[in-house]
Symmetry: none
Subunit: 209 residues, 4 copies
């Protein structure tokens, strides 16, 4: 588990640990409900029913809290990927499709619809956000790469990497269109199937030069 960005010496006790989790959950709730602009310390404090001072007791700077928040989201996906990997039935193709479908349909949750664009935008100006983005998608691609290499063993490693990136990017790009409340949200399933079929074709038909 990653080291928290809390003030040294805080969050050690059981109570403190609980409090930190409560703060992170509250912050996530607000980010999803009100967007990044609504994510103020006052709002988080109100959400958690604690004082602003108590938040700054754990997180000296707001950016520290955001860092931990980003990592928590990352950890959530990493755990999901691990779960998928562990639940492997041996049928790589089924597994690949399941992963793609999971990630694609997850775009429809309000959490993902709101959180990721904020993170992408932030990544252009804040280092910690850029790092978080890198980590999250690196983990996603690693899973893709394993599956792609198994599906088409003749692909050279770099090609595998590029295909994984392409598929990952293609999925993410749908966020603004099929996300929660977006214009094409009702076609999310259909578009997901197009993506899955297309990704399969790409991986299977692709041949080394």
């Amino acid at each position: 588990m990653r080291e928290l960005q809390t003030r040294p010496g805080t969050g050690a006790s059981n109570k403190g640990e609980q409090r930190v989790l409560q703060i992170l959950n509250g912050a996530k709730e607000i980010l999803i409900r009100d967007g990044y602009r609504g994510l103020t310390l006052r709002a988080v404090a109100a959400e958690c029913g604690i004082s602003v001072g108590n938040i700054t007791y754990y997180y000296r700077h707001k950016a520290d809290l955001l860092r931990d928040l980003a990592h928590r989201v990352f950890d959530g996906y990493a755990a999901e990927f691990t779960r998928i990997r562990d639940a492997s039935t041996g049928n790589t193709r089924d597994e690949f499709e399941a992963v793609l479908r999971f990630i694609f349909q997850d775009l429809g949750t309000r959490e993902t619809t709101v959180f990721f664009p904020e993170l992408w935008a932030l990544a252009n100006h804040e280092d910690y956000a850029g790092e978080a983005v890198n980590e999250i998608y690196a983990a996603e691609r690693q899973l893709f790469e394993e599956l792609i290499a198994r599906l088409n063993p003749r692909l050279p490693p770099l090609r595998v990497k590029l295909l994984a990136l392409h598929i990952s990017a293609s999925i993410e790009g749908h966020t603004m269109f099929v996300g929660a409340g977006k214009t094409w949200a009702r076609q999310r399933f259909e578009l997901g199937e197009i993506l899955v079929q297309n990704a399969l074709n790409l991986v299977m038909q692709d041949a080394p030069d």
Copy 2:
């Protein structure tokens, strides 16, 4: 040409028109350099070497300025699409590839890399941003749809729409990966070719149920 959101009676004179353009350019510059959080009226004023009051003289509300800014970007792409359509050589496939390559490689400009994620994030909280996003991509998809329908006339209209959306989304999703300064920027060309080939396959092989 769209109506500007400036106060009625302002920006009529030559000087005023110039000033409005200067303000919009300054705002764009700052948005790209410092992100949405840095885009304050004071920053724009400083960038333009004018007073804050002078900005609010033209734009009563910051949102009015942002609206115009979004539409300017939109107009830029719309003009480009028109240019491409007008320059049609008759070879639909070449044209389709050219369009895809243009849009994909454009992701590598710092302007696009930074501006669009900001717009996507904003679209979740601000109506005008959501409308701007919708308009921009609707124009892009319209061009795609024309080309796809010509490439594979047997596709039903809805299928054409979905394929256009899928391709458009897939391109945009690469922004965070192959954009200016991003980790995979050096593979932008190669990834672009993967996308182009894949899109062509998708359009040509796709068959009505």
Copy 3:
């Protein structure tokens, strides 16, 4: 006629004179409609369909405009009082009642309801407003004093003055209660009759010590 507070050299021409009147009328309209807080140069300009610069061409300072505006209201009442005096039928009691009723019922016009409290408040901080208040009520009291002295010739002059002031103040005090839109507006007539009867009693029964 009072001298206007316009810039020296302006408002001389026929056109200029008309413009000044237009500005004053516009300002009054806005003051009545939107209150003192809404009375900005921009609002007046919009109301008149001219530019802000054109207003400041005539009135260098906003206070100059307000001064003229206050005096115009004063002139309006002064003219009304003159008219009443000139229309005298010889029956002093009828005339007295008519004057009281006119002034009291005038409290119900939105103009009076809004304008006078603003003037009273302003009078505590701005000299010109204090002077305007003094002038307006001095003219009103002069009319009252004439009528009271005729109604009860045995009253000494100072007593006449005090009674006139008392009656004038009593009327004005009803503004906040029976003015346009106020809680007791529907009882305006009935309260006016109470005041008239009471004032008559006071004047007729009052005896020198």
Copy 4:
């Protein structure tokens, strides 16, 4: 006691309570000295020797502060009325005269002279001010009504209400004439006696139709 309009959670401690009182006193001081136009958060902060942020810490909106300020004035008068009612000697006429004299002579305090006209003017534009005005005078009239009904039990209830209103309005109307620093301030006592006698006559002689 009325609930304060301060932010929830603030002003709970002794220090906070003191601070809120200090802010209200400072605001009152400025309103009296400089009028409503001078009553800015910055001015109040300077008066109290604290930061603007500290005021908005307690009062999120300026209107909240003004509301509390109006209610404090109201509470002051309400307490005075209660005191008078409790000190009742049994002689209703004496009591009635005492109340009228108290209110009338109070017009001579700078606080009353300045504060109330501001409130009347504000009442035309701001709801909270209108409500405050209504509450203050409703309390005053209630006291009047009790006394009037006792002085002349034959008066029907509505008539009592109208007479109370008339007397209240007549008193208030003297503010601009006999208030602190006003032209007729030196005749305040004499005019007060005229009002008292006149009010007594009105109440005693008035007969149901």
